[in-house]
Symmetry: C2
Subunit: 253 residues, 2 copies
């Protein structure tokens, strides 16, 4: 089972959009996919056509440390979802004093054994205990990245956090991919930042680029990934290409 | 002193961009302005041309609960800044067990008495203790809002949190403004969501709309507000208009 965590503490860079559309694209390539929503805002849950868990529910069956993870099929994406809800905020507060507080998600996912080929984890925009659980449960990190100044600033601190975590715990989370999202090739800013990424991260900057495409922003209001909303949109095809590039790298290794 | 908190737990909706450019526009209108950065990512700090505080510093002089708030003039915006840094993460963890943990910022700002006409507070993308401190220290809430599905979903939970906070504590934070940001009038999605906002929030939806404008995204890499980077850009003028609309409402009351 490949476990990929999608993280970036900078807000609004396309984490959830990448999680949902990558899951749907991998499912279209006949992989069995599980999408875990670690954000209490539950955007990956509602974007997959599933109701957010209410306060009590999210604690009882949330992905963190409970024996029985609630797993629900997405409405139309062909992948499964571990849903989230606002109760995950209280759950995080409880975890702070628990033993092995960073490994709760990892424990839950291990119970599943080989029911899925890929597990994709969507994180909130913070380096908090929920995101740390995602980093500890995964082997590969995918960082969605808008080619803008604040996002570039945040990348350094994210990678530092990952390095520190790996050193402290002996975990070996690998930076698998940096993916440029909402990419607008016409602006000088995008070109400058994109060049900086290419020179600093030649190995991990994916060649697939996700363009800004309004279909990607419309699809969630129908609870669908772009693949079932508008199969030929530029954004949809870009995520299919991303899934192809990812599979090629991960299944070759 | 008018204290305005800029909050929205949805990431990437333009909180920092609004905080910086509103501060600079109010300063251009001869108001004395203080910008408080409550986000450990310190985007409002670097976007104002100031170095992030290093780990130790941020704890010693951070805006939360210390007698001496560090106040530094912005590089070119004509407003003052209470800077932030990654140390604010540890500071938040310390606060969790402190007395009056939600009122630390409010206490610090009261020490300043009437040194400024406006205090603008930039929040991280989370409803955590840092943001709660911002909500408790302010009288007026401004919510930057992208006209997209996930941002609309998040608005309801933000306003619920505010209502709950006001009831529980007797505080009276008022929703002063919902401001549409990165606005692209050409898309159906933007029009639909904009109409929904207009029908649900007729009193608080500001008529000033901030267009998507690359100059607003370029300015932070020079550590400047748009007003000193590109004074005639569409985005710059929109923020001047926003400051005008805000002053008209707040100084009339
Ligand atoms: N390539 C794209 N083209 C157009 N719109 C996009 C694209 N990717 C994402 N969006 C839209 O941009 C907004 C931000 O994306 P998204 O919510 O996926 O980011 P996020 O990193 O998950 O945000 P958060 O930090 O709040 O979790 C959403 O409204 C989404 O629909
Ligand atoms: N009107 C605009 N036009 C073009 N780009 C914009 C506009 N407003 C903000 N941006 C850019 O969009 C990105 C997100 O904006 P910003 O960082 O201000 O949002 P935020 O809500 O503060 O994010 P976070 O949730 O991470 O704190 C930034 O790269 C910023 O430069
Ligand atoms: Mg998200
Ligand atoms: Mg910000």
């Amino acid at each position: 089972m490949h476990t990929i965590v999608i993280a970036n503490q900078k807000g609004g860079v396309g984490k959830t959009t990448t999680a949902i559309n990558l899951a749907a694209s991998l499912a279209a390539m006949k992989r069995r996919v599980l999408l875990v929503d670690l954000d209490p805002q539950a955007n990956a849950t509602t974007g997959s056509g599933i109701e957010k868990l209410d306060d009590e529910e999210a604690i009882a069956v949330s992905s963190l440390g409970r024996e029985e993870m609630k797993i629900i099929p997405s409405k139309s994406g062909g992948y499964d979802v571990v849903p989230s809800g606002p109760g995950l905020i209280a759950r995080e507060a409880e975890l702070r004093t628990a033993e092995n507080r960073e490994l709760q998600l990892d424990r839950s996912l291990r119970q599943l054994k080989d029911s899925h080929d890929y597990t994709i984890i969507d994180c909130p925009p913070a380096l908090n205990l929920l995101t740390i659980n995602g980093l500890r449960a995964a082997k590969n990190l995918l960082v969605p990245m808008q080619c803008e100044y604040y996002a570039l600033e945040g990348l350094a601190s994210l990678l530092e956090t990952v390095e520190h975590l790996n050193e402290k715990t002996g975990h070996n989370l690998e930076l698998e991919a940096i993916v440029r999202t909402m990419f607008d090739p016409r602006t000088k800013l995008t070109q400058q930042i994109s060049e900086e990424l290419a020179s600093h991260f030649p190995e991990t900057l994916f060649s697939t680029v996700i363009p800004r495409n309004v279909r990607l922003a419309e699809a969630p209001s129908f609870g669908k990934p772009a693949l079932s909303y508008e199969p030929n949109a530029k954004g949809t095809l870009a995520y299919l290409a991303l899934a192809g590039e990812l599979v090629e790298r991960m299944e070759q290794e």
